[in-house]
Point group: D2
Chain length 219, copies 4
């Protein structure tokens, strides 16, 4: 039986996640009691890139793409607009947010992720960016155990985790649309190579984001 491109992509993503799970962030979260400061520092990086995810999704319109794909990109961008405010809400609900924190520059991996995704938008366009959406929308499958440990160690309720709760719900709907878009719009081997390249590059940067957060809390 032939392997579809989506299956190949899925396998590559799983392999990258396996590597991330052998890293220091995962060890820190699973083998030690998670501190409020670790959670805060993680959420701040999430805040930084989330602020740009809607924008760099819509900005893919800089590059010629089929209408059906742009329609998805616009709606998806609209769905994610302002989600970084949930991060602030969640940190405030735990008294972990302050204005000094807000001023901190993103860590290098976060900065690279933000910049790279704008590059993807204006240079590669909407088909290529599907490589990011593909795994980002499906992230809860991978981070469930770490997130559960954080929740339990910090006794977090749903109202302290609105960012993750809301996204888990939204993403359920999105993931099918992303798969569908990949099947419809990433047909040539060149397009598929680009989707794969963006998937691998963004998951690598996200893994490094976690490592850099962990390095701030090295035991």
């Amino acid at each position: 039986m032939e392997t579809s491109f989506v299956q190949t992509l899925k396998a590559a993503v799983t392999q990258e996640w396996d590597a991330i799970k052998r890293g220091n962030f995962w060890k820190l979260v699973l083998n030690h009691t998670v501190t409020p400061e670790l959670y805060r520092d993680l959420m701040i990086e999430i805040y930084h890139y989330t602020k740009h995810n809607s924008r760099n999704q819509a900005a893919t319109a800089m590059v010629e793409a089929p209408d059906g794909l742009l329609k998805f990109a616009y709606h998806h961008a609209a769905d994610e607009l302002g989600h970084e405010r949930m991060v602030i809400h969640d940190l405030e609900s735990l008294k972990l947010w302050d204005s000094a924190t807000l001023q901190r520059k993103p860590l290098p991996a976060t900065e690279a992720l933000i910049g790279y995704l704008y590059f993807v938008a204006f240079k590669y366009g909407a088909v290529a960016r599907l490589g990011y959406s593909f795994w980002a929308e499906d992230v809860y499958e991978q981070i469930g155990d770490a997130l559960g440990k954080i929740r339990s160690d910090l006794s977090l309720a749903d109202r302290n985790m609105t960012f993750f709760v809301a996204h888990a719900k939204i993403d359920e709907k999105h993931i099918d649309q992303v798969n569908d878009c990949i099947e419809r719009f990433a047909k040539t081997s060149e397009e598929q190579a680009l989707v794969m390249q963006v998937a691998r590059t963004t998951i690598f940067l996200t893994g490094q984001l976690l490592e850099q957060v962990a390095a701030q809390h090295a035991k």
Copy 2:
């Protein structure tokens, strides 16, 4: 009584339209029988820029802007996606469309309008682009007499003019939103100067588009 920025903008736009109406396109349409070829050549230029209007609207997300304005830009971009196909439909309904026509490059004024609006998107952003939406959404008020003459000379039914009919309807809703966005998001004198600059530049280019179409049919 103080004059609001929207009123100042409206006055500037009206002045530009008055100049356009003293031009050759208006004379050609109002003082001579409109030929199918003139209508076709006009619609082809409209086809060219319409193909990009949704895209350069969404691409404004390249530049930092308030969420409320981006939300408008995304939805507006989604509303206008694929509208160039109405132009094809209308020309086909009149047997005025052929593939050679499709291959023609845009006229210089159309090309400049398309390129300038991408520049506005990636360099100035969503606030500045409101200067284009402001008058483009309200265009039917200005072009009513010329459009009526074309319709009458060519005995066009609504089904031959779906592009204009659909837009007149959509734009009724949009114009209030555009005015509202200008009032909410173009507050500093710098922002207002940018909105004005984009309004004047795009209406100038559109006027030239009409002149260049007219020049192809000079009597």
Copy 3:
């Protein structure tokens, strides 16, 4: 004998210049005494776009292009850096410059030219921009009579016209390089169509710049 692309391009440019010379700016300059204010208003628009010409030349590096062409673009960009200061110098030498003048926004045609050339840089790249260099470097052949009339009416010495004097000299060298680059790098019909499109669009906008300056001084 076959007509080369450069010859075709040259013919198109000449045709555009002929149209410009039938316009109001040419009439105003050749049939009336040129006022200092007309010269100043012309030079201010030249100031505006000149400020960006070096930049949008180098910025073509955003798009993949052969090294030989980029090398030309970089050196050419370096040669033109800061030339807008010559305009200030020239106006100051005639006591025609003041800070209020400096604050004026470019006229619509100038603004469109500036924006379009950044779009060309960012989206089409260095080959396409040769269409602008092609005629802009060779402009003195076309504007000689108008420039001579301005010089004579205002009794300008070389030291009041450093911008034009310097450019005439630099451009002599550049024009051969531009022709050479077009022959080497604009080989496919697609590339040549793009060069032609940029040539026609930028000369159209420049013609309109002249018309809009003239309109401010209509007799």
Copy 4:
């Protein structure tokens, strides 16, 4: 005595290099015999990003910057144009180059570095990119020991290492210019923060490039 920004930057860069030297690439090179394949795989990644370094340097002209800085950027870009061909030359001199190798996509860290630098060019401009030049021009101080080990293990002559030999020479001149530009053009705390952010992000990505090359040859 006050610490200058260049000293602060230098200290940050040294700290990042120290971290890289504790990584797997350094261990692999210094503690094991370097294989031709490791050298080839390193050089291929260098090939990929070098191909873009001239371009994303010139493309900084997209963003307003002082003429003195753009002049540096243009000349620097011209100096580095085509240097990726030295990599091909070096690998060919060792019979390590083949066309299949050429087709390989950059590793994720290399891809992120390339994309991020175009983002820096397009969005932040020439001042910010000095953060990359600052440490990249001075890299030989840091990589001397690893490079010496590679040279010795593979018995490389200067003619097999033209890329590194040429760069070491060019960069001697450049580093003073870069320091000078930082002192002249990165004066506000905002500008300096941007230079620092770009320095840290690009050195992080380069470190990861080395790690990913090492991972392909894990012992």
